[in-house]
């Protein structure tokens, strides 16, 4: 559908358009052409809905309870972060991007700081690299726990077993946030990374607290399995539901656990090591099912793997400085060399990238944040057609979208 206000634009000569076979549902289907048994019902799922994980609207065309077309409308949480990045100096941006993916702020900070460091080829000291790796893995556990809880809630309701799973996950997650609180002074939006290193060194007693916390979570992980994956109802709700085709997922730029659950063995931590990941032994769980159950299994395996990495790392942090640059005293403390950089890190949801163009001033010329959830959400028009309303909710939950990151 062409939109009026760009019709006047001159169209560049287009070469031969390659024809492609699309084996997946057509997201641009005209609902008029669908032969429904009765009348079609158009339902707006959201913006206020308990299961859209934020403020998100999907327009569904329902034939009975079966969806034939879904059109997502993101943007209700758009806060103009990219514009803000153009107006703020490099050193002011890390605390702002904390709020993008509000479930894993540490990794957001890591992504932008690494991009800015890449502009000037700043190499953070080894201790900082290890602390960043440790923090990122701790955060991954917290993030997956939150996903686990909300996924249970999507299936079990806010007044049911799902709520119990949710509260149990939050119980563990709170203890992780206690670790961050000890480290950075903040439970959530830490602002602990800065261009060129870390702002906070770990305090005394940190390693003991982390070990106690993560061992406890590891020892209780089987309880979530008992509540969820071992349960016959959970299996009935997830097996074969929301099957993601690997080819489609790659074209859409879907990454992280969703792609790994579809059988693509790709993890930026292993394949393009950053921070101290090159020196960390890392097993990447892969499943080939592509359905909600496979995504659950991948995330649970990642959770346990991250716990293992945290427990391995926390005692082996090398000594040394934590920052390569002078501590920030003025907004103009860091000036990006003219040029551009793209750096991607593996967030709990996949490839979280920052594309930054610098013009030599203390502010980025353009800073694009490539959020994994945005790409995951673009799967929805392909997954929803043909599935039941209840399955759409489960599928949406299994994509683990963070709307703050989708809309930025």
């Amino acid at each position: 559908m062409a939109v009026a206000h760009h019709e006047g634009a001159a169209v560049a000569p287009v070469g031969p358009v390659p024809t492609v076979v699309r084996p997946w549902p057509d997201p641009y289907l005209d609902p008029e052409t669908h032969e429904a048994e009765g009348d079609l019902m158009v339902m707006n799922l959201g913006p206020q809905h308990p299961s859209t994980h934020g403020v998100f609207r999907v327009k569904l065309w329902l034939d009975g309870e079966v969806c034939i077309k879904a059109v997502p409308y993101p943007g209700y949480l758009h806060r103009g972060v990219e514009k803000l990045c153009e107006k703020l100096s490099y050193v002011q941006i890390p605390p702002i991007v904390d709020k993008n993916d509000y479930v894993s702020p540490f990794i957001n900070e890591l992504a932008v700081c690494m991009a800015f460091e890449a502009l000037n080829a700043v190499e953070p000291p080894r201790r900082s690299q290890y602390l960043r790796t440790l923090g990122a893995e701790m955060q991954r556990v917290a993030s997956h726990l939150l996903w686990l809880g909300t996924f249970g809630m999507d299936m079990g309701g806010a007044l049911g077993g799902g709520a119990s799973v949710f509260m149990h996950c939050f119980r563990e997650r709170e203890t992780i946030l206690d670790c961050y609180e000890l480290w950075t002074g903040s439970r959530f939006h830490y602002n602990t990374l800065t261009v060129g290193g870390n702002r906070h060194d770990v305090p005394a007693g940190f390693a003991e607290l982390v070990k106690r916390t993560y061992r406890a979570i590891r020892d209780r992980a089987h309880e979530y399995d008992a509540m969820l994956v071992d349960n016959a109802i959970f299996r009935a709700r997830t097996v074969g539901v929301g099957r993601v085709d690997a080819q489609l997922a790659m074209e859409l730029g879907v990454s992280g656990p969703i792609l790994r659950a579809s059988g693509v063995d790709w993890d930026l931590r292993r394949d393009q090591p950053y921070a101290a990941y090159g020196e960390v032994q890392l097993n990447v769980p892969v499943r080939s099912g592509g359905d909600c159950l496979a995504r659950y299994e991948v995330r649970m395996a990642e959770l346990l793997e991250s716990i293992r990495i945290v427990l391995d790392l926390v005692d082996g942090i090398p000594e040394g400085p934590i920052a390569a640059l002078k501590p920030v005293k003025l907004p103009g403390a860091f000036k990006g060399k003219a040029g551009q950089a793209y750096v991607a890190v593996e967030s709990p949801r996949g490839e979280l990238g920052t594309w930054v163009i610098a013009d030599g001033s203390d502010k980025p010329y353009r800073c694009k944040i490539r959020p994994p959830s945005y790409h995951a959400m673009s799967l929805l028009p392909y997954l929803a057609p043909g599935s039941n309303l209840s399955d759409i909710i489960v599928t949406l939950g299994s994509l683990d979208p963070i709307l703050g990151e989708v809309d930025r």
Partner: protein, 148 residues
């Protein structure tokens, strides 16, 4: 990331310099993308991002659209197209399904027009929003409609 060797060879055959990003003109972008995707196996579309460049002495007012594609697990290639303001660039939707939302976002925020896009609507901002906020000439200092 350096451009992988096999890609560099193919690019030189097309008369393009292997750089990061590969600079390509609007006529050649579809051919390049088709080459990368169908022949070289770069099936993963990482992102499409546009940056507005105001008119300077040597160049007109334009946006630079950069696509980055990956051949999992390790190789990646970026290519950039210059789109003069008021004109359009071919959409990659026919090749990469993910270009749909990506190009819509860039159209919405930067104002680049993608020809042949099946559904070029605003995605982040309300449909009646005026202007494209990530353009350099977009003023943010008014607190009232039309916000610029």
């Amino acid at each position: 990331m350096p451009v992988p060797d096999d890609v560099a060879a193919k690019l030189e055959a097309m008369g393009l310099a292997p750089a990061d990003p590969v600079a390509v003109d609007r006529q050649g972008v579809l051919a390049l993308a088709a080459l990368l995707k169908n022949e070289l196996g770069f099936t993963y579309l990482s992102y499409c991002a546009a940056a507005h460049r105001p008119a300077s002495e040597s160049e007109p007012d334009r946006t630079v659209v950069e696509y980055r594609v990956r051949r999992l697990p390790r190789d990646e290639v970026a290519f950039a197209v210059v789109v003069p303001t008021g004109e359009s660039t071919p959409s990659l939707c026919a090749l990469y399904a993910g270009a749909d939302w990506q190009e819509r976002e860039q159209y919405d925020l930067v104002g680049t027009v993608f020809a042949g896009h099946p559904d070029l609507r605003r995605i982040m901002l309300p449909e009646d929003w005026e202007g494209h906020p990530l353009r350099r000439d977009y003023a943010i200092d008014t607190r009232h409609h039309p916000w610029r």
